[in-house]
């Protein structure tokens, strides 16, 4: 349902920006600062390395590109790789759309393409790839395997070239992953200048992890000329997307500066960088600030009918003179503006998403994904859900209900599916994978619901702190916007932030992540495996014993032991008998034989009927007898 036109656009990408000669390696660093509504500031770092490596053999000799990335292309048939490590939730309603999308926790997807590549081979490579980056980024990506990976059918599209051969894609999220310092440090080590100089020196873990939202990203893609493996570019983009909450700085006003945000000013640029620029958004929420020092020049970008003004600081110019040290930019708001700062309402983005769980208890529930279209026209919407194996989803309960904005409640009106792809999940093996596509009318919300059952797992399958709950990863909602409002993502063919300036296209592919969910599965008692095994086996033995004796023993008539009627005497008698059991063994041996003879005689005699009841041998007695004999 989405045109593949952008694949053609990728061809442009091959030569986009400054043309690369053979064996040419370029590094760019960019920083975008966007004041957001509600006293938030978004800072976005992007470090791009492009290397026209030509032949594959050249991959053994890297300069700016990290060695591990080059080896990746040697070892695996991977053509495109995305990894995101995120903490926090991007608020679409107030912050608009981010420049790069990410979901809370770890997210990873990769495209594979090559000759003679089979599905199994891709599965194997995918697992190894995850293990490699588990080590490179110190993240738990080694938990990525078939039990939490899917092969998206429609939603994730390739951005590598040539993308017309046989290709495979794998996608996985680890929503439980906690992103922290140990991920940031190795991530910074992939940069040519490390964290010593350039924009990366601003990324100090103490400040990065204080933010409301931080997301580290890594994207690798290969751009080759059609049918020419010897003419390739590898492009590595590292991004860090942070959202600061100014209120947490406890300032009287909401002025801020680079030093305030990152703890220090900028000490220069990375000497290996081709370009090193800071972009500061000046309109919308940025309008109320004054910049000190004043920017050198401004760029006006009109994209899809939406205009954004950026001020640009070029670090190469800034640090031209040898004496300059520690560059700082301050955002100052006039005093009178302070009052009104919260009045500037954010523009509602055209599509927003939410997700939540319905139902209570640990037995079953319902996953609800809500997609709101505030555009006036209908938009195509695609939703991809990965439902982990420990939750059973019932496809027949899947429904999309709609609600026009003027109404408060969802009616019975259903929206028809335009597209439905489903692979059912299997316990401990496969997640359920659902992709649906539909047209969402303008000014309408859609409520996608699916019923789920929560499973009881084996006791060793629960993570530590089992009652914390299990995560269900975020759903991805994708759409195609006809206009560029709020849209800031880079075009597929561009690799620098400046390539998004004036990049008007017929449509803009948008992809959003919903919230991740936590379900609390029923838990067993972790402390008593032995007891359970013993008790269950006892019950089995309860059946086995009597059935065994019914099947193997013969009926014998024995002498009625004169049991005392008194309860106390009965017990006394029992104890006494048990004590005598050993010495009286011969006696008990003798009794049945006489009984048996008697039995023969009674049979022969066939005496007249006596009282039919009252003298029934009780089963309890029989059981006791057995016990004694055992």
């Amino acid at each position: 349902m989405f045109p593949r036109a952008f694949v053609l656009l990728l061809l442009v990408a091959f030569n986009a920006g400054s043309p690369l000669g053979r064996d040419d390696e370029r590094f760019h660093e960019e920083l975008v600062v966007r004041p957001l509504s509600g006293d938030h500031v978004n800072t976005y770092f992007q470090f791009t390395t492009r290397w026209h490596y030509g032949e594959k053999d050249n991959l053994y000799h890297t300069q700016l590109t990290p060695r591990v990335i080059a080896e990746l292309l040697q070892q695996f048939a991977v053509k495109e790789l995305h990894i995101g490590l995120t903490q926090g939730l991007w608020r679409y309603e107030t912050w608009g759309y981010p420049i790069v999308e990410a979901t809370s926790g770890a997210e990873m997807w990769a495209w594979f393409s090559g000759f003679n590549l089979t599905n199994d081979e891709v599965d194997r490579q995918w697992k190894e790839l995850a293990n490699v980056f588990s080590g490179v980024l110190c993240a738990s990506l080694n938990f990525v395997d078939n039990t939490n990976s899917i092969a998206p059918r429609h939603l994730i599209r390739p951005q590598f070239m040539p993308a017309n051969g046989r290709k495979f894609v794998r996608y996985s999220t680890l929503p439980r992953e906690i992103v922290c310092t140990e991920n940031l440090t190795p991530w910074k080590k992939l940069l040519p200048c490390g964290s010593a100089s350039g924009f990366a020196s601003l990324l100090n873990s103490g400040h990065v992890h204080n933010t409301k939202y931080h997301s580290l990203g890594l994207k690798v893609r290969v751009l080759c000329e059609d049918h020419d493996e010897d003419n390739c570019i590898v492009e590595l983009t590292q991004t860090a997307n942070l959202v600061y909450d100014l209120r947490l700085f406890e300032l009287s006003n909401n002025d801020f500066s680079l030093r305030r945000l990152f703890g220090m000013g900028l000490n220069g640029f990375c000497e290996l960088a081709q370009s090193s620029k800071i972009y500061v958004q000046r309109n919308e929420q940025g309008e109320r600030f004054q910049l000190v020092p004043a920017p050198m020049h401004e760029v006006k970008s009109t994209r899809g009918g939406h205009t954004v003004v950026y001020s640009v600081y070029d670090m190469h110019e800034q640090f031209k003179d040898a004496g300059e040290r520690l560059f700082n930019v301050a955002w100052l708001s006039p005093k009178s503006e302070n009052r009104r700062r919260n009045l500037a309402k954010p523009v509602m983005p055209p599509v927003t998403v939410h997700r939540y769980l319905l139902g209570h208890g640990q037995e079953r529930g319902r996953i609800v994904t809500e997609v709101t279209n505030s555009h006036y026209d209908a938009l195509p919407i695609m939703v991809q859900e990965v439902i982990p194996w420990y939750v059973h989803a019932y496809l027949h309960t899947l429904s999309i209900r709609r609600k026009p904005h003027r109404l408060n409640e969802y009616g019975r009106q259903r929206l028809p599916f335009k597209l439905l792809h489903y692979t059912p999940g299997k316990q401990r093996e496969l997640p359920s994978h659902l992709e649906i596509g539909f047209m969402l009318p303008g000014q309408t919300s859609a409520l996608i619901t699916i019923d789920v059952d929560y499973l009881l797992l084996k006791w060793l399958e629960y993570p530590p702190d089992a009652n914390h709950g299990h995560y269900i990863g975020a759903a991805i909602v994708s759409s195609q916007l006809p206009m560029g409002r709020n849209y800031t993502a880079l075009p597929a063919e561009g690799h620098l932030f400046e390539h998004s300036f004036n990049a008007t296209r017929p449509s803009y592919v948008l992809s959003l992540h919903t919230e991740a969910l936590i379900v609390s599965l029923p838990t067993p008692d972790f402390s008593m495996p032995y007891n359970v095994i013993c008790l269950a086996c006892t019950v089995v033995a309860l059946a086995f014993g009597p059935i065994h004796s019914v099947a193997t023993k013969m009926i014998i008539v024995g002498r009625q032991t004169s049991a005392p009627k008194n309860f106390v005497k009965k017990i006394f008698c029992k104890i006494f008998r048990r004590g005598k059991a050993a010495e009286g063994a011969g006696e008990t041996e003798g009794a049945p034989t006489s009984g048996a003879t008697e039995f023969a005689s009674t049979r022969a005699a066939a005496r007249p009927a006596g009282g039919p009841s009252g003298d029934q041998p009780l089963l309890e007695d029989l059981d006791e007898e057995e016990e004694e004999q055992d």
């Binding site: 209570h360 208890g361 640990q362 037995e363 019932y394 496809l395 027949h396 059912p424 299997k426 316990q427 401990r428 496969l430 499973l455 009881l456 797992l457 084996k458 006791w459 029923p522 838990t523 067993p524 008692d525 008593m528 495996p529 359970v532 095994i533 008790l535 269950a536 019950v539 089995v540 309860l542 059946a543 086995f544 009597p546 059935i547 004796s549 019914v550 009926i555 014998i556 008539v557 024995g558 002498r559 009625q560 032991t561 009984g595 008697e598 009674t602 049979r603 005496r607 009927a609 006596g610 009282g611 039919p612 003298d615 029934q616 041998p617 089963l619 007695d621 029989l622 007898e625 057995e626």
Partner: protein, 426 residues
């Protein structure tokens, strides 16, 4: 077949019809005691939906119904969902009717047998013999026990596929009593491929039809194997894939879904140490199938129907995913052994066990899953006690039968040296 029979059937149907329109019905359909992963209505719906959407239902592990059933019912589920409840009620009433016809015939056979053996019976044993009234009483008791047992009623309104299993089993019993070899083989093969455990019922079938000839027994066994194969192949052609074997039989054997139920498996294998799992899996499956099969077959070779009853009951206790619908079915067979009741001494204990544990289950489940104030052990305790109660009932029936046999030929009152003797198993 008198008017009373039809009245009872109608009344049974009416009871079910009334309850299936109350909010009780969806609640029962979601209760773990009735709806297991194997028989739940929701999973059947899912299977039929996937089948109709062109997705192999056995790729996932939600659907464990056999493909033949899925495709047979898919038209009904799709086009007339409002008549589904009616359909299940009719099937359940049909089961009752089959049980009635079966027990009628069974009593008649017993009476014929008695006529031959009468001379050997001891004199004071009139009350242990089937009398002329039993021909009316016992079938009536059976049908009442099936139609008005709350367990079967709730099983029916919960629309579990145990209703189908019960129908097939009732038909199997009917064929056994009527001495119809081929239909009984076919229905048994179908049930076996569907839910594995009924394979044990081949023993009573062999006892009845082989008539002490080993050659005939071998032929029947082979015939059974061929029937199973035929059913499997027929299932294969529904989807043109063998995936269903792993989805039905494999799922049962390997016990992949640990959802709580009334059986012994779920908590045992939840708490199992992983390296012992295979061993205990095999042990428990053996326990549910062949462990009691041979000894009981030898012991009860003269009473194939009792053997079948006991095997069905043991199956309901020890199978991997038992439900209360299975329990309701074998409880309805107990009136066939009305003449053994005299020797059944655990009646009160078992009844109390059933009453207490069944009412505790709901409460403890709520405490564990919804209130969070109890844990899994509580519910496990209730299911364990329920299983124990059932086991008491089964062993009691067996002991009672053995004693009745003995007393029938030796009289009820036996004196040794002028003292009353007691009967002992040794």
């Amino acid at each position: 077949m008198d008017s009373k029979f039809f009245k009872l059937l109608l009344l049974g149907g009416a009871v079910r019809f009334y309850f299936c329109r109350t909010p009780l019905a969806p609640m029962i359909g979601n209760r773990v005691e009735f709806a297991t992963p194997l028989n739940s209505h929701k999973r059947m719906q899912e299977g039929i939906f996937l089948l109709q959407s062109g997705i192999d239902p056995y790729l996932g592990d939600l659907v464990h119904e056999s493909p033949l059933i899925l495709s047979a019912l898919s038209g009904l589920f799709k086009n007339y969902p409002q008549f589904l409840a009616m359909f299940y009620i009719i099937l359940d009433v049909l089961t009752a009717a089959l049980l009635y016809a079966m027990s009628h015939r069974f009593v008649q056979q017993k009476q014929d047998q008695q006529k031959v053996e009468r001379k050997e019976y001891a004199k004071d044993t009139a009350e242990l013999q089937f009398n002329s009234l039993d021909k009316l009483d016992i079938p009536e008791l059976v049908i009442v026990a099936y139609l008005f047992n709350p367990l079967t009623v709730m099983n029916c309104i919960g629309m579990t596929s145990t209703v189908l299993s019960n129908l097939f089993l009732a038909f199997f019993f009917y064929c056994l009593v009527k001495r119809l070899l081929l239909p009984s083989l076919l229905v048994l093969a179908f049930e076996t491929v569907r839910s594995f455990y009924p394979i044990v019922l081949i023993a009573p079938l062999l006892l009845i039809f082989s008539r002490n000839s080993i050659k005939r027994g071998v032929v029947i066994s082979l015939l059974f194997a061929v029937c199973c194969l035929g059913v499997a192949v027929a299932n294969y052609f529904v989807l043109n894939s063998w995936n269903f074997l792993d989805g039905t039989l494999g799922f049962i054997f390997y016990f992949r879904d640990l959802q709580p139920n009334i059986g012994l498996f779920w908590y045992f294998f939840t708490e199992m140490f992983e390296h012992f799992r295979t061993m205990f899996l095999i042990t428990f499956q053996l326990n549910a199938t062949v462990l009691y099969l041979v000894p009981l077959t030898i012991k009860l070779r003269k009473e194939p129907l009792l053997l079948a009853t006991v095997l069905v009951a043991l199956m309901a206790v020890f199978r991997a995913y038992p439900s209360l619908g299975d329990v309701g079915f074998y409880l309805a067979l107990l009136p066939l052994w009305k003449r053994c009741w005299k020797f059944m001494s655990h009646g009160f204990v078992v009844f109390t066990f059933f009453l207490v544990t069944l009412s505790m289950m709901g409460a403890l489940w709520h405490l564990w899953i919804y209130a969070g104030s109890a844990n899994a052990n509580f519910y496990f305790g209730a299911t364990l006690a329920f299983s124990t109660g059932q086991i008491f009932l089964i062993t009691d029936l067996l002991f009672a039968h053995v004693k009745r046999e003995f007393c029938l030929f030796n009289g009820q009152k036996i004196l040794i040296d002028g003292e009353e003797a007691r009967i002992v198993l040794k």
